[in-house]
Assembly symmetry: C2
Homo-oligomer: 257 residues x 2
Amino acid sequence: MSGTDHGAQADWSGPQPVMVLVAPQMGENIGFAARAMWNFGLERMRLVTPRDGWPNPAAVATASGASRVLDHVGVFESTADALGDLDYVFATTARSRDLTKPVMTPERAMAHTRALIGEGKRVGVMFGPERAGLENADIVQANAIVSVPVNPGFASLNLAQCVLLVAYEWRRQTGEDAPEVVEMAGTQFASQVEVQKLFEHFAQRLDDAGFFFPDHKADSMQMNLRNMLSRMPLTQMDVQTFHGMLRQFVRWKERGD
Amino acid sequence: MSGTDHGAQADWSGPQPVMVLVAPQMGENIGFAARAMWNFGLERMRLVTPRDGWPNPAAVATASGASRVLDHVGVFESTADALGDLDYVFATTARSRDLTKPVMTPERAMAHTRALIGEGKRVGVMFGPERAGLENADIVQANAIVSVPVNPGFASLNLAQCVLLVAYEWRRQTGEDAPEVVEMAGTQFASQVEVQKLFEHFAQRLDDAGFFFPDHKADSMQMNLRNMLSRMPLTQMDVQTFHGMLRQFVRWKERGD
């Protein structure tokens, strides 16, 4: 994926949630998480006691184009310190049997985040270390849990994938991406009159060729043809192509070979 | 993420879209794509001319728990062969300036897929090789384009991440995951009468302690306390904890030390 250009640049600035990586182990994964964030315009990362210290050259290497995320990373000595200035915190984890806590899908969590941020609140999302995930001592500091509804028989999201899905949902909840557009390659859709004229051209040539046979079926055959042309999303270029085909059949016929 | 148990098992079977990897290069990435699929219950993969042939031990190694996806993979000699029995095909790519084609978000594309599959149609989603992505010769065979609305200044989704987001959206469109639930750790929310009795216990003890002072503010102080207790999502366990605290203050007072 590269080069998409929809989505206003302005969407990528402004208030946004902070991604808090608690006790991440591999520097590489910190870099991958930074890339996942920046794909969807998130750029605020905090680290709690990264295993290999900070800065970490391995993180910089894997972050590559997303190094701006790492340039401004905050490093904290405890989860409480990292969350101290936030108003609302999510913990990403599987549902816990040990703690009574709201559990939201990423969709609901990021919709809630959008609402909170709209009220001027500061929101964070915690992610645990690669192997073990967040411990209960961290989760109890969160207001709610985010749990990705994965296959109960196979749940293997890694840290960067989990960050990616949260970042994607943030973008989905806040972006103004049209669900569907038609990319027009240097052309426009044909107007009604252009389609009608194409139909008339077809009808004339097909009549010349004896296509509308037998006579008592000619009307319904023409109706079906007219309907088919309206049903197709014809561009002006498509219409010209059909006109060209029809003219070429005439030339072919006149050539008589 | 592991161990989530919401989402009925039944959701993971039944008709689903086919993921078609066109000319994948690294076997490792085929395995990662399989994992991404199986996280969200997709298990039908097709390969078009995988660079290193098939089967590929590197794919098996990275797929690990998702090997069932690879066990049933179909291998084809051309894109046309791989798509031949499908009714509707998406191409995942950035928007193309060269081709007039509908462009959908993953969300819309999977909602459309759900509708098509509901009508008994067979749907596929094509993904291009890691570096170059799909070529126009492949894209023209698709009915529509899926484009992830990434940061226009940083679009770096890899193959498995792209598969992951499509699979996630499939799950989101077809699953019946409650947006928000409260995980109850061996307790229930307190009933109205339990909260009322807790309030009365508080009011009694605080009155004994001379908390409601001055007198003319006592009523509003009680109202605020009652309101606070209703505002909090108290469990039966929380209520017992508060009762225990209040009893302990009485003991502490009576101890007189």
